[in-house]
Amino acid sequence: MSATARVALAPSRPESRHLRVVGDPVARRRVVVLPIVVVVVSAFLLVGFWAALAQSAVSLDSLERTRDTEQLRYQRLREEVARLASPAAVTAAARRLGMEPAVRSEFIAVPRAAPRPAPADAAPVSLATDRYLRAKQALGRDR
């Protein structure tokens, strides 16, 4: 069969050959734009996440450094306190202030109740009470 015959047998087509139905342009744009937006937003989110992560890491490093520094400071201060509070240091400081070791200790037996002034003809007060009064007297004089 020749080519002419084939053309003749073919069903006739409408003449609107240069026209075609197109889809909704908005929908088409949406199809294109949406993935782009998703990709861009995702990229930004990813970058933001990594930035936040990096920032947190920096903050964490900084906090760890601060902790180490404070730990070191605590150790040094603790050592300093222990050194200054050691008996040898306290004794040396006391001597620098002009203090001397006590020659003897004075013990005061405090009477059960506050001593009332004794009448002139009363018996001498006990040794303990006497010491108490002397100590009180001395304390008053120092003030």
């Binding site: 040094r76 603790r78 050592e79 222990a82 008996p87 070791p101 200790s105 013990f107 303990a128």
Partner: protein, 626 residues
């Protein structure tokens, strides 16, 4: 034509086959590398990119009973050099030497050694030194942090704590050595990725194994009491030109050791606390002399062989049957009729031997063992000796009597303190202990169990002995131990010192006692080794130190005085004055004046030649004791 093949097709097929073979080989290699040897290469990759380093664990602290730091670990800067970056080794060494306090030649050697990229210059330097070195801005000089062991109170209690660390590192001794495993903790490990140049890639550091801090140890020591004990002992050892001394204070309520001082004399020029590796109270043995009379008399009282008022006829020398030479009292005296109390008060050897004649050999040996002699104290301590007691079967003619007056036995200060602690504690032994608790890294505190004591003598016997021992201080040889406000019970001891098995003119003098005598709270021993003047006795050398330490301890603990009228103190001072004995330990300017005026020690003059020159072997020879 069948014989003419397409040459292009053939070449293509050959190339394709070659490519296939090449890829096949590559595939085989990939399988080999990835699958078969994957682990090996993975490990190699990790090894190349990962740098591991150990993180030292912080060592636990050592505290006294009040939570004050006796030893702690502090991180300090260590100065190092990378010699490959050092431009001018000589100039750098010159600049660093005065700042670091290190020899310039040593620094120059370290800085010039370009075989290594890390050389220590100075370890664990002070903050000031670190700042000064930084300010110099020298190329090739860097800093790393290292843990450093610190003893804030300096040499205080060094013989107990021991030492660890330092440069060169000290061997761990004392508490540091004994509980090293507990204190050391477990080191950790960090891993960090490095670039091909070996530099750390930021942000890749991770902790593989965290370091676990060591446990803390809480001792029963009281830092202030320890200082007072060392202070008093050091000055007395210095003043008397002694070879050394030991003091130990114990709380009778629970056996807590509050102080344990070991002092070493420095050739008559002074004394120093320490040494670090020798705790004299536990490790050194000596013949206790007259302090042993407490054991003899307690046993005689306990078994009813004597009473406190039993009268004996006491000459100043006495030869026991079978002995070659007489036993002698320290000072000549007329034959006296002394009670048991008088014998103890005057520390009469002859009187004590007469009392010992009422005991059997077995009883004498049993008495010493019952009081804890011949076995280690309850304190855990390396190198602690059991001591040495003569077997009663080997007493022969004189052994029992020598043992009764404190010869023929080698004991530690801790053991002898235990004897007096038993009497003070109403006849029940009071085992001593030094470690109060441990605190693990999580803060859990585990308190050590306090060992139980056992009854050695009856309460009545202990009470009687206390009454008799009060007389020793109030009117006897221990007058210098008296403390104003408190009644004191104690005993002096003076023994000749053995050197290479031969008794010499050198003496070991001691005083052991407790206070307040009516309600005993603390017991203390003071032993001074070889005062320069061989005539000095325990009552003159050790008793004043004892008194000074105990006065401090009683006041610090707020113990109410039991003799507010100073009855015993006044009587004791009267006796001291009558004997011309000064009872003060010289300190500060007084000590300096004494040292300045010191004349060479008198040549040895035996007041009793027969006794002084007596060579002897352990356990066979009596000697003047007091």
């Amino acid at each position: 034509m069948a014989g003419t093949a397409d040459p292009l097709g053939r070449r293509l097929r050959a190339c394709a086959a070659g490519v296939v073979v090449a890829f096949a080989l590559l595939g085989v290699r990939v399988v080999q590398v990835q699958a078969l040897n994957g682990d090996v290469y993975a490990r190699r990759a990790v090894a190349q990119s990962l740098h591991r380093s150990d993180v030292p664990a912080d060592r636990g602290s050592i505290f006294d009973r009040n939570g004050r730091d006796l030893a702690l670990t502090v991180r300090r800067s260590t100065v190092y050099a990378d010699p490959t970056y050092v431009l001018d080794p000589a100039g750098t060494a010159e600049a660093l030497a005065p700042v670091l306090g290190v020899d310039r030649q040593f620094l120059l050697g370290q800085l010039s050694d370009r075989r290594f990229r890390f050389r220590y210059l100075a370890r664990t330097v002070s903050d000031e030194a670190q700042t000064a070195v930084r300010a110099l801005k020298l190329p090739g000089i860097g800093f790393v942090e290292e843990p450093d062991r610190s003893y804030p109170a300096g040499p205080l209690a060094a013989s107990i704590l021991g030492r660890v660390g330092g440069d060169p590192p000290a061997s761990a001794v004392g508490i540091e050595g004994l509980y090293h495993d507990l204190l050391a903790g477990a080191p950790g490990r960090i891993e960090v990725e490095v670039d091909p140049g070996g530099k750390e890639i930021p942000g890749t550091r991770r902790v593989a194994i965290p370091a676990r801090r060591g446990s803390d140890i809480v001792l029963t020591l009281d830092e202030d009491v320890q200082w007072q004990a060392e202070h008093s002992l050091v000055d007395q050892v210095t003043a008397t030109g002694a070879a050394g001394g030991t003091a130990m204070v114990v709380d009778l309520r629970d056996g807590d050791v509050l102080a344990m001082a070991s002092v070493r004399g420095v050739g008559g020029r002074g004394a120093t606390a320490g040494p670090y590796d020798r705790n004299g109270a536990l490790a050194d043995l000596y013949e206790p002399g007259s302090t042993m009379k407490v054991v003899t008399l307690s046993w005689a009282l306990q078994y009813g062989r004597v009473g406190p008022q039993t009268v004996f006829e006491v000459p100043d020398q006495y030869t026991v049957p079978g002995a070659e030479k007489p036993y002698q009292d320290a000072e000549p005296h007329a034959t006296e009729r002394w009670t048991t109390t008088d014998i103890l008060r005057e520390s009469s050897n002859v009187g004590t031997i007469k009392i010992a004649q009422r005991l059997t050999n077995a009883e004498m040996g049993a008495a010493q063992r019952a009081f804890g002699l011949g076995r280690r104290s309850a304190i855990t301590w390396p190198g602690q000796s059991n001591g040495l007691l003569t077997d009663p079967d080997e007493y022969y003619a004189t052994g029992r009597f020598s043992a009764a007056i404190g010869y023929g036995a080698a004991v530690s200060a801790a053991q002898m303190l235990g004897v007096f602690a038993t009497v003070a504690n109403g006849g029940v032994s009071r085992p001593l202990h030094l470690r109060e608790a441990t605190v693990d890294p999580d803060g859990r505190r585990t308190v050590d169990a306090v060992p139980e004591g056992n009854r050695v003598v009856s309460r009545d016997t202990a009470r009687t002995m206390t009454t008799m021992l009060r007389r020793v201080v109030g009117a006897g040889t221990g007058a210098c131990a008296a403390i104003p406000g408190y009644a004191v019970a104690g005993k002096t001891g003076t023994t000749k010192k053995q050197v290479d098995g031969v008794y010499t003119s050198r003496k070991i003098v001691s005083f052991i006692g407790y206070a307040p005598a009516t309600r005993p709270r603390f017991a203390t021993i003071v032993v001074v080794d070889s005062p320069a003047d061989p005539h000095l006795t325990g009552g003159v050398v050790a008793a004043p130190v004892w008194s000074e330490i105990m006065r401090f301890v009683l006041t610090r603990a707020g113990v109410a005085p039991d003799d507010p009228a100073d009855g015993q103190f006044a009587a004791a001072r009267q006796r001291s004055a009558a004997k011309g004995v000064g009872c003060e330990v010289p300190h500060g300017p007084a000590l300096e004046r004494l040292l300045a005026a010191r004349v060479p020690a008198r040549p040895r003059v035996a007041n009793r030649p027969a006794a002084a020159e007596r060579p002897a072997s352990l356990g066979r020879v009596p000697s003047p004791t007091r």
